[in-house]
Amino acid sequence: MIKLMKYEIRETHKFMTGILVLVLLLITGLHAAVGQDGSASAFGSMFVLFSMLTFFGAGLAAFLYIVGSFKKELYEDRGYLTFTLPVTGYQILGAKLLVAVMWFILISFVTFFYLIFAAMAFGDPEINTWELIKGLFQLLPVKALAVDGIFSFISMINILILIYFSMAVGRMTFRNKKIGGIWFIIFLVLAGLFSFGRTEISELLPYYLDLETFRILNLEGIAASNLQVHLDSGFALNVQSEEVVNIASVFYTLITFVILFFGTGYLIEKKIDL
Amino acid sequence: MKFADNLPIYIQIMNFIKVKIVSGEWNGGDQLPSVREFSKQLKVNPNTIQRVYQELEREGLIFTQRGTGTFVREDEAMIRQLKQSRAEELMDHFFREMQNIGFQKQEIKRMVMEWVEKEEKE
């Protein structure tokens, strides 16, 4: 599987490095445009708007590229190479997911640290850099950020595997390549079903884990501690950056991930005709 | 070499080799190409060449020396006999074809005589 990952990385690295460089350039540009006094010129605010759009676009492009790399195997001639290799469908899928995870971690980490670095580099040169970092970490809700990061990460991987699953189902059901876009409809339907299921289950079992204190709370407990509950993503955030997660929802997410992973692997292994 | 339409490939290659031997192009003691080399030259399956060599060996035209290769047998009588049977085959074929297009034996005989005389004059 390491070898599969190696070739997956070689296939995607140019595009991903490109995205990363673009993002870093934009961050630099943003700081330059806004200027040191914090006030922005007309051009500056245009640039900020443009950059925000591009950040969003870059993230989306990276995501779609990862999606496309799987699509290539199922809908294009590359499958003739990949699916005749002496490896299992699970290994192929695992390699693709791990490489995607690796890229997202890499890009978000580099972006995050570069943001801090840029803030310092374009900030007041009198301030001691190290002090600034220390101050920053004290100021930042590190724990909340980490939890947020992990959860948005998990939901992204879940979307990815759901897309893979939808593509596999789409490929299996419809041999006609002309309606290849069918996987997207399958994806929308499944995504709707899964999030409906998550909402239902978290309403059915309203027990939450407080990540600050590791206490289990019910809805009254949450109301008492003034937490906002985001049912759709299964975790909640209060004003002090204290977080609770719906326990059932977390298990639901993990179980659907496992089911989707093995489901997709099984389809690749046993059902798909190229 | 070009293959004809109605015979198995191995027989055609056998005939090809027989002609080479009869015509004296390949002499007694000459080495034949290896199976692989020959199959490459003719673009045919090595198994076919293998069979050709086996059949020719069985007919006593060639022999294989372990480790060194396959050779044409040095046997005047054998070559004469081969020449004879090859000639018979050709005559057979000729007469059959002539009869097919409507000539009688006597007519054919006369035509052959005339043809030989004409050839001699030239």
């Binding site: 001639d77 | 490939i9 076919t48």
Partner: protein, 237 residues
């Protein structure tokens, strides 16, 4: 000797269209077998099932005694009739890819094959012509010491010089411990390298036998037999 491929009552349906219809076939070990049939006869479906790209609707396929899976993929060297390599690759990268995934890949043999085919390892895959691409793919496939080679239309759409090179490479690298399956509709160019031929139409086997025996019995070359069988109505049988 046990056959390299055993196919029992193999059926493949796409919706209500039947591509393979209860097919039974043994492929002899150590032989070159030609699978002949017009487009849509089911020969590509058959190949795809043997290589694990498609699943049978019913029936059984064994290669070297095993059901199709990772184990058979490791011993089958398959030449598809399309460009399946990564676009970023150079020829030498493709060789490394094969070495990474197939234990039976022989790098020296690959290098020799490239020399024979007059291909430069530094060339980019995307810069190759159709004929060069075909020669590269064949070099990759032949450089494996596989138990079974499967060539799907190896000479379709390439010029006569490349065609000769490809045939020569197949003959040169064929050895009696391995078995070869070739599908083609260009029967004239390839028939002399077949030990056995299988005629297939509408997912069924029409005729299956030793090529030389068939030539002897029918008094014609395989190409003529092919034309007789597949010309309208299939009256040739």
């Amino acid at each position: 000797m046990k056959p390299i491929v055993e196919i029992r009552n193999l059926t493949k349906k796409y919706g209500n269209k039947t591509a393979l219809d209860g097919l039974d076939l043994n492929i002899e070990k150590g032989k070159v077998t030609g699978i002949l049939g017009p487009n849509g006869s089911g020969k590509t479906t058959l190949i795809k099932i043997m290589t694990g790209l498609m699943r049978p609707t019913s029936g059984k396929v064994l290669i070297d005694g095993n059901e199709i899976g990772v184990q058979t993929k490791a011993v089958v060297s398959y030449l598809p009739d399309r460009n399946f390599l990564y676009k970023w690759m150079k020829i030498k990268d493709a060789g490394r890819f094969y070495r990474d995934f197939y234990a039976d890949f022989d790098m020296d043999k690959f290098t020799k094959l490239l020399q024979f085919m007059k291909l430069d390892p530094e060339m980019k895959i995307t810069s190759l012509s159709k004929g060069m691409q075909e020669k590269l793919n064949l070099s990759l496939v032949l450089a494996r010491n596989a138990k079974l080679y499967i060539f799907d239309e190896p000479i379709a759409g390439v010029d006569p010089v490349a065609r000769d090179q490809i045939l020569e490479a197949i003959i040169n690298n064929y050895h009696p411990d391995s078995s070869v399956i070739i599908t083609t509709h260009l029967v004239r160019d390839m028939e002399n390298i077949f030990d056995n031929v299988v005629f297939i139409q509408e997912g069924r086997i029409l005729l299956n036998g030793n090529a030389e025996t068939l030539r002897e019995e029918r008094g014609m070359q395989i190409e003529e037999l092919y034309k007789n069988i597949f010309t309208e109505g299939g009256s040739g049988l």
